[in-house]
């Protein structure tokens, strides 16, 4: 009886699927699909995982590892504990080059954001030749740092550069570009702004094109003038782009290297030397790989903290 009942029950299960049965079946089908998904994900992800593992994660791990070693490329690494970290906190050059880097960043980033925003709004409102002007301004970003650096070096040559010749025509005395720490830093900042302006302008332009025109219509009906429209409609609408631009700009400026190397070589008397220049000098020229790794990690921490602060401040401001 019991067997018959069981068989009957079994028939019922076969013929009338229960919720439990449906779940099991879908789990089996799902599992097969999961295997297919797995394969697909594997194929899609493999190249990028390999790329990142080789060129990002492995070097980062190796960098952290080398902080605890004295390594010079030619001999096996020797464990030295925390000596590199101790040296880092007592190195007067580190402080100087970090200050130079932060100065460039603090001056350049706000200037760059404001200028590129102004230029992008100007280009956005153009009714003729918008594409051509946009391309011309963006083209500075396509110039390599070496070409840009050498060109600026000639422009700022105190004796026969175009900039001083122009100032002379205006009745202004020669400016000691490249031979005075303040003006050399100013020249480097101008070079950075010239190079990045086109890139950030394009990002702002993309954001401006996405602002709903109805918002402007509504603001106009409410009696807002152009300036009010800009501050109360445009700025809030493109805030995500501004956050992105500010983070990218800060990261770029904290890694300021090639432009300074070509334009001033870190001079005069190391007044424009940046943290990355110092790190490369230590790592390559002095073969002091362990200490250069320590500086590299410190720079990573600074960039990470700066980005986090920016994100949090923006969020708090939005709230």
């Amino acid at each position: 009886m019991e067997n018959r009942n069981s068989q009957f029950a079994g028939d019922l299960i076969e013929k009338k699927p229960t919720v439990h049965g449906m779940a099991r079946r879908s789990a089996i089908v799902g599992s097969r699909m999961l295997n297919h998904d797995h394969l697909f994900i594997f194929v899609v992800m493999a190249p990028m995982v390999l790329f990142f593992a080789t060129f990002f994660y492995y070097p980062i791990l190796k960098n952290i590892y080398l902080i605890f070693f004295d390594y010079d490329y030619l001999h096996p690494p020797t464990y030295i504990g925390l000596a590199n970290l101790e040296r880092f906190f007592h190195d007067p050059v580190v402080l100087k080059v970090f200050l130079n880097t932060i100065t460039v960043t603090i001056v350049s980033v706000p200037l760059l954001i404001v200028l590129s925003l102004v230029v992008s709004v100007g280009v956005y409102r153009l009714r003729i030749a918008q594409t051509a002007i946009r391309s011309i301004i963006f083209s500075t970003f396509l110039t390599t740092w070496i070409v840009a650096g050498i060109t600026f070096k000639f422009l700022f040559n105190p004796e026969l550069g175009f900039v001083n010749a122009f100032l002379h025509r205006l009745g202004i005395g020669a400016v000691p570009w490249l031979t005075d720490p303040f003006w050399a830093m100013a020249a480097a900042i101008m070079l950075g702004i010239w190079k990045f302006l086109g890139y950030f302008m394009v990002i702002f332009l993309a954001a401006l094109y996405n602002v709903d025109p109805q918002l402007y219509e509504a603001a106009k009906i409410d009696g807002a003038n152009s300036l009010q429209q800009f501050f109360y409609v445009t700025i809030p609408a493109i805030k995500p782009a501004m956050v992105f631009v500010s983070i990218v700009a800060v990261i770029n400026y904290l890694r300021f290297y090639q432009q300074i190397l070509i334009l001033t070589g870190g001079g005069p008397y190391r007044s424009t030397e940046t943290i990355l220049m110092y790190m490369f000098d230590l790592g390559i020229k002095s073969r002091d790989v362990g200490y250069a790794s320590t500086i590299s990690l410190a720079l990573f921490v600074v960039i990470f903290l700066a980005s986090q602060i920016q994100i949090r401040v923006t969020k708090a401001y939005s709230n």
Binding site: F42, M45, A53, L74, H75, L160, S286, R287
Partner: protein
């Protein structure tokens, strides 16, 4: 569950990658069963090596010369040195390397001692004292210098003519007098800009000739201590600073030869590599040995590149054969006449009729005879690329800028710089011991 599988997948891929990289590393075999072999050379500017490579492959039909051509880099061959360091650390070591950091590599034991081999060369007598100083460490020869070139005093004949002078100065005092005359006459360049007597651009390559002439030295004989703060050195730095203070020379701004090429400077202490750009710029110029200082002597930095053989090479004899080709007269003449280089490598060739005929045809025999004369008094520029405590070059360059740009007291600045350099060298030497 899915997350766990994905993490496992990613980790497996990472391990696989590193495994493949690990297994794929190391050096490729450079010899074949049929007697053929590959000679690997890490250099910069393969154009200067083409004739020798072709000649070597002609002499060794089974040989294949593989060139790893790397840009020289912004300062002291930085990019090429970086590549060689990476090749050494990864075990992918070439046979021959072109370098100016041979003393560093020899001291570290990565290149061969070639003393016994090179001393047997019949070309050995053609090496000048300056060249030998470049290729020697602790009395052992570790390399062969190629493309040597000394700094000399280039002068602008048109500017001198404007102050009624035809001859360039023979002493540093005379040079300063000319500076005063140019300044007093208010000489202007064709572009209307002020003309200076001298320019101290290009780092210590272009300044140290003056403190050597004044009796100063960069380093002690064993390179264990710098002497840039000696009274003789300070005297020369003061002389250079006064040239700037008096308006006879501009503050160096890193634009190198621009003032010279624009007829805005009467004298420029620079190597023979400046001959072609000067000619292309249409300058009416000449060159003479560096003016003498209070010692009555003159000295200039001896440049060039060294060819060295890495210890890991299994083709020492073939590499030596290749290096020696650079001293073959026909190849040197081809390199000069085809514009691959400006100078012969062997000093006796300055007097060779074929070379002299070529220079005469180019109207610059006097220029090259001045170079020959300067080769008799050259020094090794240790502070260009110090093999102990490399930061020394930057510290010294920065001190030079403070003297010539910020116009600070040379004695104070050089003493400070010397203290830091000497401390750094002592620390590095102690570590080595």
């Amino acid at each position: 569950m899915i997350k766990t599988r994905m993490v496992a997948l990613v980790l497996a891929l990472m391990l696989l990658t590193w495994g493949v990289l690990w297994a794929g590393g190391g050096q490729e075999p450079t010899a074949n069963e049929d007697g053929g072999f590959t000679l690997r050379i890490a250099l910069s500017g393969v154009g200067q090596f083409e004739a020798q490579i072709a000649a070597f492959e002609k002499l060794n039909p089974k040989a294949n010369v593989e060139v790893i051509d790397v840009p020289w880099g912004v300062e002291a061959g930085r990019d090429l040195r970086e590549r060689q360091l990476l090749m050494i650390s990864s075990g992918d070591i070439p046979d021959i390397g072109a370098m100016i950091w041979g003393k560093e590599f020899f001291r570290e034991g990565v290149i061969m001692d070639l003393t016994d081999d090179i001393k047997k060369w019949e070309e050995f007598d053609g090496f000048t004292a300056g060249m030998l100083e470049r290729m020697t460490y602790n009395n052992r020869i570790y390399a062969a210098t190629i493309y040597p070139c000394a700094v000399m005093l280039h002068y602008n004949k048109d500017i001198l003519a404007q102050i009624g002078r035809a001859e360039p100065p023979k002493t540093m005092a005379e040079l300063a007098d000319i500076g005063a005359k140019i300044d007093a006459a208010g000489v202007r360049a064709p572009n209307g800009n002020k003309v200076y007597a001298m320019v101290f651009e290009g780092g210590n390559w272009h300044t140290d000739c003056f403190f050597w002439a004044n009796g100063g030295e960069q380093m002690t004989k064993d390179y264990s201590k710098t002497l840039i703060d000696s009274p003789e050195s300070i005297g020369a730095f003061r002389w250079m600073q006064n040239m700037v203070k008096n308006g006879y020379a501009p503050k160096p701004d890193g634009t190198y030869d621009q003032l010279w090429l624009n007829n805005q400077v009467a004298f420029f202490a620079v190597g023979a590599w400046e001959e072609k750009p000067s000619r292309d710029a249409g300058l009416n110029f000449g060159a003479v040995p560096i003016p003498v200082g209070q010692t009555g002597k003159n000295y200039a930095s001896m440049g060039g590149t060294e060819l060295a053989i890495f210890k890991a090479s299994t083709h020492k004899q073939e590499a030596m054969e290749f290096m020696r080709l650079f001293y073959r007269k026909d190849l040197q003449l081809t390199a000069v006449t085809e514009g691959k280089t400006t100078l012969p490598i062997s000093k006796p060739l300055f007097d060779d009729p074929d070379f002299q005929d070529y220079w005469t045809s180019q109207n610059n025999l006097d220029y090259y005879m001045a170079q020959k004369k300067q080769w008799e008094s050259t020094k090794y520029n240790f502070l260009e690329a110090p093999f102990v405590y490399p930061e020394a070059s930057k510290i010294y360059a920065s001190a030079l800028e403070r003297v010539l740009v910020k116009l600070e007291d040379p004695e104070k600045i050089m003493k400070e710089a010397a203290e830091v350099i000497n401390k750094g060298i002592a620390q590095k030497m102690n570590v080595k011991k």
